[in-house]
Symmetry: C2
Subunit: 509 residues, 2 copies
């Protein structure tokens, strides 16, 4: 039996407790689609809410929610119809198709084969005698396949449409509206957290490569002659791990430790806006529970970079079962996209400077894959201790904040526990009530879904109103009086104090 | 010129300020698709959050997030492939297609023509000599058209797939997982707020009929022999306006005023669970700003009802420009769906009672169209006063809670206002900073996007720390001292006190 990876363990818990599982299980499944259960839906929402805190609310950036299905003319203008393609190899024996660059990478250990181009991919398949990963059959020569989902809009004789493979185009399509709503002032940004779909050829990496997923992304529009970011000072002293384009080209794998400010001054990061978002990105990932040493920024080489980008840094996380994994990209898209849409639509998207000159705004884009962050948070927070599973998720990410347990479900403890459960719910907390099985098993179940605190109601609660609060991370308990319970819990979840302090504060009652 | 309806006015503000506008504007548009801007995205999110408060969090129901694209076998099993169809009439002259029942309704004023069936639709088109609404050309005989978006999953020789036209099937497909996560106890519910897509034949009613939209829905699973709802007591005394099936059949349009409890006892509502959700639904709509007198519940007649439903009540809102409009449906789906999926999958979905008998759970489903609620809230909260536009949105729905204005942007007022803006942001409030134009214009702009409070910073703020708070609804202002500003604002937004009280509390500082 193959050794179980941490990911296997997490996937088992995820299915059993309700984080996520493969979709359409009862009808045989379909690769590339996952369903999120109660815990997964809540964890996803919390990751998204925190993204809005770090990237939208404080800056006053403008939000957007645009359709997934777009008519073909949009993708002609954006270049997707010509470019959103991958090399696919079909097996002559079993008829299955595979993404050519991925099966080469699996066989050879090479990285970024996609960037090497079609001729290299064709040669590598031959050179390494790569056969069908499923049946061992011979493969046909690979061909370029459009990996967008195609449909027809309108029931009869309608127009061809596609599901969007990314969210960015919506920000460019709606740039003129955004500029109007930003009162015709730069810089401004359009931010969107929404679904995208990619018709992947043979998705086989679980949550890491999905046919339907959520991107959280913003496009920041600025005047290249006024490139200052007003919040730069808040993050420019952040130290980040950087693998620059030059290091990448030279095969240097040990990242440079550098402050955002130094990296921008030395030209390693092209613009202050990229530096700003990379600094915020580091802080955001720390809030998701990913420590600094598990984070790095890696530059794309010119041939790996998308055609629109002057510089792209991937933000990577070292995930236990997968190694360094891209969770985000920060791209300097210049004026490429707006110019393309100006040409295609014939509409003016230039901005007038006070000196009378006109320009097309430049764009910096930080972009996140929600499922990748979800996986990184679960993986990093997982611990196996005394044969128990624990997710030490940050308080603001946990699906439920509090569990409420009566010691036993008789002698009025059930009613008292229900009353306290109701008080906690009234305060706006996501609280989980559980009275099945021994209290030890209930603590274990609560830890296994990452709930930071458990409140236990016992016979003393009936006599003096006190109850115990147990900490998921340290397994310590404090007995506290209930009068200011709610205020103290709220303080705890706003991270204004630690568990030890919570105990002290409550015991003082 | 046709008289402007309230909807025309709202649509104009929506476009200009950033609530919503037709998608793909720069490429000529595409009917049935709308894009939500900054204000719209925030308003949508607040409506959805409130739905979770009323229908998910307090009850501890389980959330779900499942894919939009499903393989064809799912829709064969669910019956959608055979049934999700509409009659379409194509114009012989211009080639455009129209939904036959809708063009009949527009021409004749008849309602629910869809429910009359294919033969009636064909006769009505002939009888009323209905021609193309666009060019006046002759129409072909209508034919049944599948109104799901079709695609192919997998790039080459893959499987046919469709975008789901509703979210409910995901709850049935994942019922077995849900039952496991609910620890094999009934009742439990699976709730989902997510995107659906319908390939409408000729959507021509703005936000009311979209090709892509969000449904907020839950499926409550229960034992028909234990039909009690544990929270029934919380809402059973709510008085609701009811048009029952019998009244509907007799053409009675004046609704019956009855408590939920009486309606259930008299058998006008078939189950306690429907009664519960209808009572909660009334409260939810009140929280969205829809007063009782603009709400009613109307039963579907048997031929209007979906094939799976034993009873359906639409929750309707009287929207100014549209009249009574369905925003929600509460259906008693019995064991229809689980039985269908048991048959199609061959899997057991029965539950064992303590007495050893087995049964398939029954289902009650309250379901909301987010865009309809969005429209109802905007319409109901709109007022034109002294040539100004105001959205009196409930505090918990407003896109921004607070505006912050310096009286002028010189003499240090800008810096002071920025400092107060930062304090408000630090407290977690969505706050909008504005220093352009006269303060009167800024108040007007703030009212026009429904912001409940505006804080103005003036020369007195510099000398004694006091500032003015202005109320959107009454246009009254109070001058207050700033020391406990944040706490008081938070109290205001938790609706624990009214504006008058807020002023008094703050003045006491």
């Amino acid at each position: 039996m193959a050794p179980r990876t941490q990911y296997d363990t997490i996937a088992e818990i995820a299915k059993r407790r309700g984080f996520y599982w493969p979709s359409f299980e009862i009808y045989g499944g379909m690769s590339g689609f996952y369903t999120y259960g109660d815990l997964g839906t809540k964890l996803r929402r919390n990751i998204e809410s925190l993204w809005k805190e770090f990237f939208v609310r404080r800056q006053g950036f403008l939000e957007l929610e645009a359709p997934v299905i777009n008519p073909e003319r949009v993708f002609i203008a954006s270049g997707h119809l010509d470019n959103f393609k991958e090399y696919s190899s079909e097996c002559k024996k079993c008829g299955k198709s595979f993404r050519a660059d991925h099966i080469i990478e699996e066989k050879t250990g090479l990285e970024n084969v996609e960037a090497m181009g079609g001729n290299a991919i064709k040669s590598l398949l031959v050179e390494h005698k790569i056969r069908c990963p499923d049946c061992g059959g011979e493969l046909k020569e690979p061909s370029l396949i459009l990996t967008m989902f195609k449909t027809e809009i309108g029931a009869t004789g309608g127009e061809i449409g596609y599901a969007r493979p990314e969210t960015a185009q919506a920000m460019f399509l709606n740039y003129r509206r955004g500029f109007q709503h930003a009162r015709e002032k730069l810089p401004f940004a359009l931010a969107q957290a929404s679904k995208v779909m990619r018709n992947e050829i043979s998705p086989r990496r679980g949550l890491q490569r999905l046919r339907e997923f959520t991107i959280m992304e913003l496009e920041l529009f600025f005047d290249p002659e006024s490139p200052a970011c007003p919040w730069y000072g808040e993050v420019c002293e952040e130290e980040i791990s950087l693998i620059t384009e030059k290091m990448e080209a030279q095969g240097v794998t040990e990242p440079l430790q550098v402050t955002v400010k130094d990296a921008v001054e030395k030209g390693l990061i092209l613009t202050e806006w990229q530096g700003y978002f990379m600094g915020v990105s580091k802080q955001y990932l720390i809030a998701l529970g990913i420590p600094t040493e598990k984070q790095r920024f890696r530059a794309h080489l010119p041939d790996e970079r998308a055609h629109y980008s002057a510089q792209t840094y991937d933000h990577e996380v070292n995930i236990e079962s997968f190694g360094w994994t891209e969770v985000s990209g920060c791209a300097y898209r210049t004026d490429f996209d707006l110019k393309a849409h100006m040409d295609a639509s014939g509409l003016d998207m230039t901005v007038l400077r006070q000196d009378g000159s006109r320009f097309v705004p430049h764009v910096v884009e930080p972009s996140y894959g929600l499922s990748r962050l979800f996986l990184a948070s679960l993986s990093e927070s997982y611990e196996r201790k005394n044969k128990r599973n624990i997710f030490h998720l940050p308080r603001s990410l946990s699906p439920y904040q509090v569990s409420v347990f009566p010691l036993v479900s008789k002698d009025g403890l059930h009613e008292k526990a229900q009353e306290i459960h109701k008080r906690v719910l009234d305060a706006g907390v996501w609280a989980f009530y559980d009275e099945g099985g021994s209290i030890g098993r209930r603590y274990a179940r609560s830890d296994e879904i990452g709930t930071p605190l458990a409140l236990a109601i016992d016979y003393e609660t009936l006599s003096d109103g006190s109850l115990t609060i147990r900490d998921r991370d340290s397994w310590t308990q404090v007995r506290v009086h209930g009068s200011e319970l709610i205020e103290k819990l709220m303080g705890f979840f706003k991270e204004s104090y630690e568990f030890e302090e919570l105990g002290e504060l409550l015991e003082r009652d």
